[in-house]
Amino acid sequence: MLKLGIDLGSSYTKGVLVNDENQIVDQFVVKTGFDFKRAASRIMTKFEEDYEIATPVYTCGYGRDQVDFEHISNSEIMALSKAVFTKFNKKCAVIDIGGQDTKFIKINQQGQVDKFKMNRKCAAGTGSFLEEIAFRLDISPLEFNTLTDEATEEVRINSYCTVFAISEIIGLIKKGATIANIAVGIYNSIIERCMEMVAADETIIITGGVPEKHPTIVRLFKKKFSKVESPENSQFFAAWGNILLNSQK
């Protein structure tokens, strides 16, 4: 029997299957859409095809209690911290960039959460910021990644607010800035927003769906800060940490 952890985020729902040694055996992600229950069931159905799944299921995220099966819910911040500490086993600051929010967590030497913060209510510093700008520029958000390869200089986007940022970008285009240079500016704007939350000398672990889909963000982070790491498959960390939290209780 395998344990199932599900992180029901506002944009994506992520599921992991874990064996008795708490190692990840399989993982699956679906778009959350408008229905948390449906998203969680899709994860369950997919895994049930190949595995036997134990109950309860461990859930976290915005939709943590919106599932149709027996479950134990956790805070995704505690779950994510558990996973990061299990993987890195050191004091660090976590920046998790998700579709709708950015989280900052400070973990101490004992693996406890010392402090955490979530971004304010606007899209600044989150995946929504990228999506909204991409939509207005009529390109796919993922294209920003490839565009940055052609950048010749870093254009600065000052506005936090997505609406203001868009008018600023239009102004830059009018002045002749290339879309490649603007793309770097857009990523840097997200990074600057995140950096308001951490001190410069900390080990920074970057997680979440956005850096996974936009590796340029991690590359630019590394350019600015010396101690930056971003584990693979980090968007599944909270789902995994969910199980870790409960297996040690």
Binding site: Y62, N74, S75, E76, I77, M78, D101, Q110, Q112, V113, D114, K115, F116, K117, M118, R120, K121
Partner: protein
């Protein structure tokens, strides 16, 4: 004893409070309808004792602002004030109060008022913020009535005699102006009596709050925010003192019987900043479900003017109203908080960063980090607003609060 859904015990004194507050509004209504009585509008930490001693009935727009917030209608009213040129970024008590006035609506209509009681004079003290002067000026222009103000210096570290004497002179300077409107001449004995009543009520109110030092606490912040009505609007009268004697006895009784406010109190929090008026009962339920009692707050503790002294009423008024938290330097604020954290055995602090009230958002100049370094007491910052629900993300705050309690559990029980 009646229990709410969350298992939080309702204070029986709430029934008495209802009567006390309704009588207060009746007195205002009578004053409006009787030629002999005059109505003064006053700020919540303004010179209420002086006004009561001179025979005014006193109305507090901030109390009205809180009622608008608690009735979850502030966002209906704010746009009307914005249309008049008041920014949505300034005090949402002000914008919701002026907006409701422009829309001819008030929760007082449920108590038989047609509109808020018309002022004969407006009196403010800027000890809390300068917004109150602009707020009252709107009504001074509208009703064409006199407006008086005490301008207290802010960010005070030491309370030197020079400063306090200066403020005391401003208190004295109100008298001849008030006499032009008041039904009664200034009478030193009446003022002294009012100061004494106010001091005694403040002391009783402090003792009520201190009951939360008991573990488990018989009262929580969300109750206290409601039960503070009389200390805000009836300082300087017997009504406030009488009410807090009732509440005090009930809390004493709860302690004797081992009754706690939150059914299974495990964690004790401090609330720094304004209440979220439109979320008060949701918050109370949420914390109770997390076995957490918010036992103390800067907000409720701000109405403890125990320096008032009938032997020297002007000087002591100036001292008491300049000594309060909101008037002080960051350093003094830190020391005051440290004391509360110790006295109430606090496990964690919640800072409510209230978008439209910077002066009551004490996490904006690094105080939260400095206090943490010295006390190692974890803190959580939540973004919201006192009245404007559009500045608050319920879901995000819920996750943050739940996580914070898990963080405390990990710290306390590891």
């Amino acid at each position: 004893m009646s229990k709410t859904q969350s298992g939080i015990l309702r204070l029986e004194s709430a029934n008495v409070l209802k009567v006390v507050m309704s009588d207060y509004f009746k007195r205002l209504k009578d004053a409006e309808e009787t030629a002999g009585k005059k109505i003064a509008w006053c700020t919540s930490v303004g010179p209420a004792e002086l006004l009561y001693s001179m025979g005014f009935e006193v109305y507090f727009p901030e109390n009205h602002g809180a009622m608008l917030g608690a009735s979850k209608k502030a966002d209906k009213y704010i746009p009307s004030a914005v249309a008049e040129g008041y920014s949505p970024d300034i005090c949402s008590y002000l914008t919701s109060d002026i907006g409701a006035f422009l829309q001819n609506e008030t929760p007082l209509q449920r108590s038989g008022f047609e509109a808020v009681p018309k002022p004969d004079i407006l009196v403010y003290n800027t000890n809390q913020c300068h917004e109150v002067a602009d707020w009252f000026s709107f009504y001074a222009r509208h009703f064409d009535v006199p407006i008086l103000g005490i301008h207290t210096p802010l960010g005070l570290n030491e309370l030197s005699d020079t400063i306090i004497n200066g403020v005391a002179e401003q208190f004295k300077a109100l008298v001849p102006e008030l006499e032009k409107v008041s039904p009664r001449k200034f009478d030193m004995d009446a003022f002294k009596k009012s100061i004494e009543l106010s001091r005694d009520a403040c002391v009783r109110w402090r003792e009520v709050l201190e009951k939360a030092m008991h573990r488990p606490s018989p009262i929580n912040f969300f109750d206290a925010a409601i039960h503070m009505g009389p200390i805000v609007v009836m300082r300087g009268t017997t009504y406030a003192l009488d009410y807090y004697n009732v509440l005090y006895d009930e809390l004493d009784d709860r302690i004797a019987k081992g009754i706690s406010s939150v059914p299974n109190e495990k964690y004790r929090l401090y609330w720094e900043g304004m209440p979220l008026w439109y979320q008060l009962s949701n918050m109370a339920r949420l914390f109770a479900s997390l076995d957490t009692c918010v036992v103390a707050s800067t907000y409720c503790n701000s109405w403890v003017f125990d320096d008032l002294d009938p032997a020297d009423p002007f000087y002591s008024s100036a001292l008491a109203y300049s000594k309060l938290f909101i008037v002080r330097s960051e350093e003094v604020k830190k020391e005051m908080l440290q004391e509360h954290l110790k006295d109430y055995a606090i496990d964690g602090i919640i800072y409510h960063d209230s978008k439209t009230c910077p002066r009551n958002s004490n996490n904006r100049f690094g105080l939260q980090n400095r206090l943490y370094e010295e006390t190692n007491i974890p803190f959580l910052e939540i973004n919201g607003d006192l009245n404007d629900p559009r500045c608050f993300s319920e879901e995000q705050s819920l996750i943050a609060i739940e996580t914070f309690i898990q963080q405390l559990a990990e710290k306390i029980y590891s």
